[in-house]
């Protein structure tokens, strides 16, 4: 295989390439070791790898029984999560796939009932998650379709009962109506479950590809002219968000460099250098940096955050994952920024795809924090110090929910206290701890 020898260092790209040719068990092991070796890291790469892997797992699974499918996915999911428990998106994607299978299975069962009475449209599964009244209606239909499938709520929410019914009829191809209809003639529920689930995973993958653009669509609602925005790390989600606003408005960005774990990528992002993060690999081509849009970007050391905070109008942060209680696990240094912002009563906006939203409740948030390479803090050459000093380099910070003012996901803006709703819309109760 010359293809694999081309990509010398294993990573997401080589994994996705090998997924097509390798047997499924090999691919599972492969991903586990990639996760363990931190060769696939950052939320989105992990999520994409997991989604693709699960798609292969399900298509390789020749069983008709949805219970067996669930068992299989759970088994794989457990191993993946054990490989790198701090990449919570892996668990999120696994849970969503499990939810998909359960939905399809339930749809099936109900479809069989529904064969006698044809009121299938009244199933409790159909209501959308568009319960946020602030939801703009001018979104492109593609994005609606994708998130719609993945966001299919398992439970009926009170909010959605009252929600605007408009998206409902704007989407004739919703799964609620499609799946029973598609199943009616075939009467082969077993075969359908897999096909439906595969389609669902395909939509999760689509969602992962589009999530940044969807979030960026809200940018103009949140960034106003002549504002001073403070941000942190080289998160592509944040960059796209700012770029979108930069097309229409002039504002100033203060960028904290997030030393020592992400400063190189941050510098490259600010200056538009050629360095690519793993994060955006394979998703988007090189983008013009903010400065080329005429935006003033000021790169500051992390220590200067507090001093500048009084001038800042808004803090926009990316995140590693969002927890069910509204707290978040984000790059180290985020908590300092959040605290400083709180002191100055500066609003903090966190932009994050829904896929980063985890149903995990942080009872022990220490265990969610990954400790990285100590040599990034203290040079390993300094033998005397290395011998005598304990160096800890946390890669993530836990930011409690009360420090965050607003979350912007691909579904819209939410208050931290509201996230539990989105969690229960996205993940089924039985999958939260599997």
């Amino acid at each position: 295989m010359p293809a694999t020898s081309l990509a010398l260092t294993p990573g997401l790209a080589s994994f996705l390439k090998s997924l097509k040719t390798n047997p499924i068990d090999t691919s599972i092991e492969n991903l586990i070791s990639l996760l363990k070796r931190r060769q696939i890291r950052h939320s989105r790469s992990c999520a994409t790898a997991t989604a693709y892997l699960l798609r292969s797992v399900i298509s390789a699974c020749r069983t008709a029984d949805s219970a067996k499918l669930i068992e299989r996915v759970q088994g794989v999911g457990r191993r993946l999560m054990a490989a790198q428990p701090r990449e919570m998106v892996v668990g999120n994607i696994v849970r969503r796939v499990l939810g998909l299978i359960r939905d399809e299975a339930e749809d099936d069962r109900e479809a069989e009932f529904a064969l006698s009475d044809v009121g299938s449209e009244s199933q409790p599964q159909t209501p959308r998650a568009y319960d946020d009244p602030s939801l703009p209606l001018d979104r492109d239909s593609l994005s609606i379709r994708s998130e719609d499938r993945s966001a299919r709520p398992p439970l009926t929410s009170m909010f959605s009962l009252l929600s605007h019914p408009e998206p409902e009829h704007s989407l004739p191809s919703t799964p609620g109506s499609l799946s029973p209809g598609g199943r009616l003639p075939g009467h082969g529920p077993s075969k359908d479950v897999r096909a439906e689930v595969l389609e669902g995973i395909g939509e999760i993958i689509d969602e992962l590809g589009q999530v940044d653009d969807q979030i960026a669509a809200y940018a103009l609602d949140h960034i106003h002219s002549n504002e001073i925005i403070l941000t942190h790390t080289s998160s592509t989600t944040v960059q796209k968000f700012l770029l979108k606003a930069a097309a229409k408005r002039k504002f100033t960005v203060i960028h904290a460099e997030s030393y020592p774990n992400n400063h190189e990528a941050t510098h490259a992002t600010v200056s538009g250098g050629s360095m690519h993060d793993d994060d955006n690999l394979g998703f988007e081509t090189f983008q013009k940096p903010l400065i080329e849009h005429g935006i003033t970007v000021i790169l500051i050391p992390d220590s200067a955050v507090f001093a500048l905070m009084s001038r800042v109008n808004k803090v926009i942060l990316g995140t590693h994952s969002v927890l069910a209680n509204g707290g978040l696990v984000a790059a180290a240094g985020t908590r300092v920024i959040a605290r400083a912002a709180k002191v100055h009563q500066t609003p903090i906006v966190v932009v994050s795809g829904v896929y980063k939203l985890s149903p995990v409740y942080p009872f022990d948030f220490d265990s969610l924090i990954e400790y990285g390479d100590a040599s990034k803090v203290l040079s390993y050459e300094d033998g005397d110090l290395v011998d005598q000093i304990d160096v800890q380099n946390p890669i993530y910070d836990y930011v409690p929910a009360e420090l965050v003012d607003l979350y912007i996901t691909n579904l819209g803006g939410h208050a931290p206290s509201y996230l539990y709703r989105i969690v229960s819309d996205h993940y089924r109760k039985e999958d939260i701890s599997f």
Binding site: S5, L6, L8, D366, D387
Partner: protein
């Protein structure tokens, strides 16, 4: 990084066939050293656990990280155990990142044999990595590999790239017993000279490196670096293997192969290069000191992501808690026990009441009693430690049982299955084992392990198998497990003695003018011969070997007796001076050297029966000439004259003739240097008449001290 990679490959589309070849690696699972005795008697070294994960796992992980596809694993001692382990491991499974993992057995007794064996098997198709089975690194190799390949494109003779990790002057992970010195041409990263400085405590003199004058003249810029950790990761081309085959006597990859190939640059025209990294982790568990240091590095996450909580082995379930505390699931801790920082605790281990554990690695299924103190210890699997026992800085292998109220001091090594009875103290640096060299059980020694205990004290070299010249460092290296050895740290000041050494290097040229009319090649002979003799003296090789070497050199260069003598004199004097700098008295140094190598000198003098002692006079003149340029030359000359006389190498008549020879008093310098010898010559003249008078010589000795 991947996009860069692709971008880089597009322009050289012509190198397509190079891309096609599989990336191979050779793992030297056994490095043919005995530094891990007595543990290596029962288990191969690369299966010894480091932070509860066998060493070989880290190495294979590194190779997998680097994207290696084909691995050749060379087992040495206990290769059956290793093979069994590998066959059961994930590396053999279908999902292994390696396409091929071949286990090669050979009867090799050295790295050199392995390489020659590999060359004979024709398995290597392209560039490959050679690592020893104890390398721990999180280095992405592609930088080094790209540098290597780029060099290969332009220069086919650049056959090897060594990956070296920068580490400051003092570093716990660096070897303390020997310190490698790399002389590098920084413009091309080419290594032009390599030497190992012996830093063991029995060598107290200033460290020195000999750099040939030509090297200095040839390169406008040279880095002499001693701050590098040699992690023995080499990227080689197949040419390296043939080079190993060509030189059948090379055994060790650095001390002999690297040194030799660099020295014979004119002969083979191959260049070796270095790739110095300063931002990733790379180290080798070369001895127990390094074992200790690297364990600490891994636990403090310097080698991230190679940490216990990465759970490299499939069954591991380590979790990181605050304070670098790694704990597996299923650990039983008593409520009142104290678990301190930097601790690793494996599954099924139970720790009793009021026990304190600090800086310690505990394996699986250990039973630690009450009120035990563990500090800095490495305890492997299934160990039982009784109540009130104190263990500090020791390594305790699988299945050891330690009784109550014992005291295990720092640096103790307790090998597999040993039982220590209640109330025994094991002193610092003691090694206790149950197994003999041949694998049989030995008689227990109650004085070491107590009544009812099992095991005996292992003394290094009892069944000597010193196949490796690193052996002499073993005891030092292992005791170095705990001792910081601050006194041994090589200061940068001592490196600067190179320059003075260099100025001395020019002395033969000045000597030549008055004595001989050598041609260029004869000068070469002098150079080679004196260097070779000097090396032999320093290594303490026996006189026969020195003689043999000298004869062969003389034959090839067709050198005259005078030249041979000159080479001997210069190398002997250089060595003596070094001994003196190391703190020996002049008299002692001289008599030691000449007594040991009497034969060598004797074989250059052919005028014993003749009346005119031309050769002997020549020798004395050469000595005098040589010592003119050395410090304390006069004293050395006196003692040399005396010991030559005592060893009956030079006759009384010769001294007389020498003294009266006009050449010996030709210049002011010559006269100064022989001034002290005056009394000896006078005494000789008197002794011819009254042979009883010998106090004088004793007086001389005392006034020198």
């Amino acid at each position: 990084m991947a996009p860069n990679k692709k971008g880089a490959q597009k322009p050289k589309a012509n190198a397509a066939e190079e891309v096609e070849e599989t990336f191979q690696a050779v793992v030297l699972a056994d490095t043919f050293e005995t530094r891990f005795e007595p543990f290596t008697r029962e288990k191969p070294r690369c299966l010894l656990p480091l932070a509860n994960t066998p060493l070989i796992e880290y190495t294979l992980e590194f190779l997998a990280n680097a994207g290696v596809e084909e691995v050749f694993l060379y087992g040495g001692a206990h290769s059956d155990q290793l093979e069994k382990y590998i066959n059961a491991s994930k590396w053999r499974a279908l999902s292994s990142p390696f396409k091929h993992l071949s286990f090669l057995k050979s009867t090799s007794t050295s790295v050199g044999d392995v390489m020659r064996d590999l060359d004979g098997k024709h398995l290597i198709t392209g560039d490959f990595i050679v690592v020893s089975g104890d390398v721990i690194s999180n280095l992405p190799i592609e930088g080094a590999l790209a540098a290597h390949r780029a060099r290969r494109e332009t220069d086919k003779n650049a056959i090897m790239t060594m990956v070296l990790r920068e580490a400051g002057r003092n570093h716990r992970t660096k070897s303390t017993s020997t310190s490698p010195v790399f002389v590098i041409d920084p413009t091309k990263n080419r290594c032009v000279h390599y030497e190992e400085i012996d830093r063991s405590p029995n060598c107290t003199g200033p460290a020195r490196v000999t750099i040939e004058t030509e090297t200095i003249l040839e390169f406008p810029e040279l880095d002499i670096r001693q701050d590098l950790i040699d992690c023995s990761i080499d990227i080689c081309t197949p040419d390296v293997l043939s080079l190993w085959s060509d030189s059948f006597d090379y055994q060790t990859p650095r001390k002999q192969f690297l040194y030799g190939v660099l020295k014979d640059y004119e002969l083979n025209g191959k260049t070796l290069h270095t790739y110095i990294i300063n931002d990733n982790y790379a180290a080798r568990v070369r001895n127990l000191k390094a074992y200790d240091a690297i364990s600490k590095d891994i636990i403090s996450r310097w080698a991230y992501p190679l940490c216990p909580d990465t759970n490299l082995l499939p069954g591991h379930t380590y979790n990181l808690r605050k304070g670098s505390l790694y704990q597996e699931q299923g650990v039983t801790l008593a409520r009142s026990c104290v678990i301190g920082r930097r601790t690793v605790i494996g599954q099924g281990t139970s720790i009793g009441d009021r026990t304190t554990v600090h800086n310690t690695t505990l394996g699986r299924n250990c039973k630690i009693g009450r009120n035990v103190k563990l500090d800095g210890a490495y305890i492997w699997d299934n160990v039982v430690i009784g109540d009130n026992t104190d263990v500090r800085g020791a390594i305790i292998a699988d299945g050891v049982v330690i009784g109550k109220n014992c005291n295990i001091a720092t640096g103790a090594l307790i090998s597999f299955g040993v039982k220590i009875a209640d109330g025994i103290s094991v002193e610092s640096g003691k090694r206790i084992t149950k197994t003999r060299m041949d694998g049989s059980r030995a008689e227990s020694d109650p004085s070491v392990v107590g009544e009812g205990g099992e095991g005996y004290e292992f003394i290094h070299g009892e069944e000597d198998d010193s196949d490796d010249d690193d052996d002499e460092n073993v005891s030092v290296a292992s005791s170095g497990l705990i001792y910081r050895m601050p006194g041994l740290s090589l200061s940068s000041a001592s490196i600067s003695t190179i320059s003075s050494e260099l100025s001395q290097g020019s002395w033969p040229h000045s000597g030549r003018s008055s004595f001989s009319t050598d041609h260029e090649e004869q000068d070469n002979f002098h150079h080679d011969a004196s260097a070779s003799v000097f090396d032999s003296l320093r290594e303490g090789v026996s006189a026969d070997v020195v003689q043999l070497e000298l004869v062969s050199l003389r034959m090839t260069a067709n050198a005259s007796d005078n030249q041979v003598r000159r080479a001997i004199v210069s190398s002997f004097m250089k060595h003596i001076q070094q001994l003196m700098e190391a703190g020996k008295g002049a008299g002692q140094a001289v008599s030691e050297v000449f007594a040991k190598y009497k034969e060598v000198v004797e074989r250059t003098l052919f005028d014993r029966q003749k009346e005119q002692k031309k050769d002997q006079v020549d020798l004395l003149l050469l000595l005098q000439q040589d010592l003119v340029h050395r410090s304390k030359g006069d004293t050395v000359l006196l003692f040399t004259a005396k010991s030559l006389y005592e060893l009956e190498l030079v006759d009384e008549e010769a001294y007389d003739q020498w003294w009266n020879d006009e050449r010996s008093s030709a210049t002011e310098e010559m006269r100064t240097v022989r001034s002290q010898a005056q009394q000896f010559v006078d005494w000789l003249a008197e002794a011819e008449e009254e042979s009883s008078e010998e106090e004088e010589s004793e007086e001389e000795e005392s006034d020198d001290e």
